[in-house]
């Protein structure tokens, strides 16, 4: 059966889609927003924490290195102050001092030397053959003449090994003398090289020329590479700076820098961002996985849930459809009973006439006086009357049959005006007996409806016969049936001048089994069947009633194109 009441799966598909979409939107938007908020909050906080940790570490080391350099300079100054040029020029004494220093600091001090104003080493204590070495051209020598105490950058010098010199100057002009100490590169290097975090975290020191002051397992960077870091010098309140930039391999890295040694050196801690934030990234990956998993669960749930619900709805609709069908069938039976009673009276009248006419002919025959012309004429008249009354019966049964025709509920193009005509053919006589004046105002050229003829008959029979019954009780009235086309819909109005329906029961008149008739005289199904049929057709039925004035039922039916359901 192809009915347009939603049994087709398409509307259910649409419903399911709408439900899935709603569930997804309603659940995803808050989850997404919360996740985003948490992500950014967590991301920022964690980053800050990592950076703070690195800054703190670099600050500590910077202080440590500065303290180390200051302490070595102080050591050298202390020696010079304590013993003076004469004593220190004695190489044995000088060796004794070196041994004392090495006892205290291990191998930090490599050698000691006293240099005169011309740059010649006067005395020397240490492992190299540097007696009488000439430092007059060395950069540090020129510096120390100008500055009193100098800590040099790391250089190879005369010995060809990386080292740096702490030198301090005493005396004036030709009396000028310099105490010079070489600091072991290795022991200094340890201060920095033990800073290792993660897999890529390394620390190193560069001078302003970009030369490494510690061993660093990275290729020599361009001289300008660290120039930018020095520029941060401008803001002395912030001693440690954090930069994020690509390293020499193009890997995004975090650089934490602090200036050392009167801003001449730069302590650089460098770690690839991916390594530094590896915990963060792992947490992000984890939450992304949870988010995706949750999303998939949600998706599956939305899909399964809405499928299940729509299946239920479809099932409920099917059951409702079946139920209303059964009610309609039950109502049809009840309607047939009512119709039969109405029609019986109409048929009984002509039948009574026929029986009496036949009886009359028998009367005449029993007299044996059929020979007279008057009697023959009388017999002919009686026979003609029987024929006429027979025709009347035939007309009535023909009308009845128009209702039985197509007792299936298939939809066909249907002219509402014709249906109303059929109904009055059947109920016209009853209206007459009920002293009801019938007026029909049928709009011409109404579009055809797509509906079941039987069902439309049922609706109109119910409405008209209800009106007739209501007015019959009142001793007559006026019944107006009109059709019209309004807003592309066919509007049928059945108005009576009956007693009207009390307001108290007006909302219940379409309820199944609701009736005001005595027990056994009404099923209470008539109007509920009308309601069911009309709703199945996608239409509506409205009622307006005033006690003492009458009742008006308005049936509004959508016009459907014939080909829509014509594919029977």
């Amino acid at each position: 059966m192809t009915r347009k009441n939603g049994k087709l799966p398409a509307p259910y598909e649409a419903l399911a889609r709408k439900m899935i979409l709603t569930i997804l939107i309603v659940s995803f938007i808050p989850v997404f927003l919360v996740s985003l908020t948490i992500y950014f909050q967590f991301h920022g906080l964690y980053r800050q924490k990592v950076e703070d940790h690195l800054v703190e570490m670099v600050r500590k080391h910077k202080q440590q290195i500065d303290a180390f350099l200051a302490a070595r300079a102080a050591d050298v100054q202390f020696l010079a102050d304590s013993f003076g040029r004469a004593q220190l020029s004695d190489e044995t004494f000088l060796q004794g001092q070196l041994a004392a220093l090495q006892r205290a600091y291990g191998t930090t001090f490599v050698d000691l030397g006293v240099v005169d104003a011309q740059g010649h080493q006067v005395s020397y204590a240490g492992p190299f053959k540097l007696n009488r070495a000439d430092y007059s051209r060395a950069a540090w020598f020129k510096q120390v003449l100008a500055q009193r105490t100098v800590i040099t950058d790391v250089f190879l010098g005369l010995r060809g090994l990386p080292h740096f010199i702490v030198a301090t100057r005493y005396g004036q002009d030709d009396d000028t003398w310099i105490l010079r100490a070489t600091i072991d590169f290795e022991s200094f290097n340890k201060l920095v090289s033990n800073i290792r975090i993660g897999t890529t975290g390394i620390a190193f020191i560069v001078n302003r020329a970009g030369e490494f002051q510690t061993t660093a397992s990275l290729p020599a960077a361009g001289k300008g590479c660290f120039a930018g870091f020095y520029a941060c010098d401008a803001d002395p309140s912030k001693k440690i700076h954090v930069f994020l930039r690509p390293d020499e391999n193009g890997q995004e890295s975090i650089f934490v820098t602090g200036l050392l040694k009167d801003r001449n050196w730069l302590l650089v801690y460098r770690q690839q961002a991916a390594d530094a934030f590896s915990e963060l990234h792992r947490a992000e990956r984890m939450s992304l996985v949870f988010f995706v998993l949750g999303g998939v669960c949600l998706l599956v749930m939305a899909f399964v849930l809405s499928r299940r619900m729509v299946t239920r709805v479809a099932q409920a609709d099917r059951e409702k459809e079946l139920m209303s069908r059964q009610v309609i069938e039950a109502g049809k039976l009840a309607g047939i009973g009512e119709l039969a009673a109405g029609v019986a009276h109409e048929i009984n009248n002509p039948v009574a006439v026929m029986i009496e006419e036949a009886g009359w002919i028998q009367d005449l025959m029993s007299d044996g006086s059929l020979d007279t012309p008057e009697n023959q004429a009388e017999v002919r008249r009686a026979l003609k009357q029987i024929h006429t009354q027979g025709q009347r019966c035939k007309e009535i049964t023909r009308n009845l049959l128009s209702f039985a025709r197509g007792s299936d509920s298939r939809n066909r193009p249907l002219d509402v005006n014709r249906v109303i005509g059929d109904v009055f053919n059947l109920l016209g006589q009853r209206a007459k007996y009920a002293q009801v004046a019938v007026e029909t105002r049928l709009a011409p050229n109404l579009p055809l409806l797509t509906a079941s003829e039987t069902e439309m008959h049922q609706v109109m029979l119910n409405l008209v016969s209800n009106a007739l019954q209501a007015m019959d009780k009142e001793g007559g009235g006026r019944l107006t049936v009109s059709t019209a086309l309004a807003d592309g819909k066919v509007v049928i109005e059945v108005t009576d001048t009956g007693p009207g329906i009390p307001e108290a029961i007006l909302p219940r008149i379409f309820d199944p089994f609701f009736t005001t008739k005595p027990v056994g005289q009404g099923t209470g199904l008539g109007l509920s069947i009308c309601y069911g049929i009309i709703h199945n057709m996608g239409g509506q039925i409205e009622v307006e009633s005033r006690v003492g004035q009458g009742t008006s039922f308005r049936v509004i039916l959508p016009v459907q194109t014939v080909d829509e359901t014509d594919g029977k």
Partner: protein, 132 residues
């Protein structure tokens, strides 16, 4: 005094029915059986006839176009309270008979009715109403 024998032609019957042909043919048949029939084709006409003359019995159709048979019965009973009224109707409804009898009808017959049965009822009505 009219006796209740079928051969005696003194029963005056008022037949009220809007089915003209039925009235005509029934009147003819009843006349042959000694019942004088006054024909009324509507409730109003029947009431007028009853006002003008006396009847022994009335035969009244319940369903008529101008007036409801029940209403006619009430008026008939007002005009001639002793007149036995037999109701006839194509509507074989039991409650119509019950209602009619409550309103003072003598009996009820469903249309089409057996003529012999009708005559029997008429005699019974006359015997009770007129012979009392």
């Amino acid at each position: 005094m009219p006796s209740s024998k079928p051969s005696e032609p003194f029963i005056r019957l008022l037949l009220i029915d809007d089915e003209t042909v039925f009235v005509e043919v029934l009147a003819k048949r009843l006349s042959r059986r000694g019942i004088e029939v006054e024909k009324a084709y509507s409730g109003g006409q029947g009431i007028q006839l009853l006002r003008k003359q006396d009847f022994d019995v009335a035969l009244l159709d319940l369903k008529m176009v101008d007036m409801d048979g029940m209403e006619v019965l009430r008026v008939l009973k007002l005009v001639a309270p002793d007149l036995p009224v037999i109701l006839i109707s194509g509507h074989g409804a039991d409650d119509a008979a019950r209602q009619g009898q409550a309103a003072g009808a003598f009996d009820f017959l469903a249309k089409p009715c057996d003529l012999d049965l009708l005559i029997e009822k008429i005699h019974a009505a006359v015997g009770r109403g007129g012979g009392g």
